[in-house]
Symmetry: D2
């Protein structure tokens, strides 16, 4: 199943089912899930700690490392899906709202090629 | 646009378009994007630092705080989408693969109600 | 060597010597060292992810877990010492300055028993 | 007061006194303090997100930015001191123990100029 064939809700629901089958809602306080995002994101970041930006870009061609990186990204995503479900956040809605704010904050014509003015 | 109506690819593409319109690919090394996930996840976690798990669960009913929390979750998601696009990771594929591994690692009958044996 | 017998400078210098003996200054850009603090702090936090605040307090009496926790705290400290040395920050000076600001921001009589007003 | 004149214990005790004066021990569960380290370390890291390793090194000469960076490093240190005090960890002892392990794990002659073999 690839990104073009899967709705965001399908991912959220698959994660929720996994949690419910194990009766893990009791552990899934938003506080703990937010910690989970950070912990997994830290593990993802570890792959890039000692290499340059350019080298981190080149990792996309390193099949072995990409296996591990893909798994870390999935771990982060799992917690994002779980906290969204737990707190009643619609991720797509949150995303598009945020993008509207980003469009206003970073007008393309002003910020082209620069991340700050 | 709600989670049931949006494919994961649509989110990935919307994020990629935002980046491309600003010519920001040059800043979006995986190293920097992974840092972004952690930074935004830290800001999300800050909402829960001094409250208990139970209190963090109750925040779902606090409309004012949920506005900010929703925005932080969106910030995390933006970076997840960006790093996936940048590194050629299909998020749905990564997610379902990981869930298969999780099913094996945490069989429901053994882990029901417990996060460790 | 215990905290009462060691100056902060001795720790900073011991860390710097370790780095220099390995010619690791080249890797120790502040960017990478800041990543290191986060990564190690994430590993420390992992010990507390699924337990309550009260349970996390009780870990102080769990000799086995404390061995690992102590090591994670040391890992965080190593990176704090390294970035201080690398950027020319006197940690004690930074600490006392910050505490002065904290005293003004959180007057004891107003904040007694509460972390926000 | 500079690093050469201050023992680690003096910093730990100053932090503990600040907490006690506000009766904040009740909030200072190790779980919450570990979150604090990550949150503050994330804020520190934010200064380096969009710049290269080399540029991050050059920040040491940027007085204005160094003021903010110094404060973020102090914030991290505060939480490190607080969790050490709260969990009965002697930081110097933890540090020297860890350094011994690091000496064995990374023999200088093998790791000179390289962070992995």
């Amino acid at each position: 199943m690839a990104d073009g064939e899967v709705t965001v809700k399908e991912l959220v629901d698959a994660m929720a089912a996994f949690v419910e089958e194990r009766d893990w809602q009791q552990f899934h306080a938003p506080k703990n899930l937010a910690m989970g995002i950070v912990i997994e994101a830290g593990e993802l970041m570890e792959h890039f700690q000692w290499i340059s930006e350019a080298e981190s870009g080149a990792l996309a061609d390193d099949a072995e490392q990409m296996g591990a990186i893909k798994e870390e990204v999935a771990d982060v995503l799992c917690y994002v899906l779980a906290i969204a479900e737990r707190m009643g956040i619609d991720l797509s809605d949150a995303f598009y709202e945020k993008m509207k704010r980003n469009e206003l904050k970073y007008p393309a014509e002003k910020y082209r090629g620069r991340y700050k003015l």
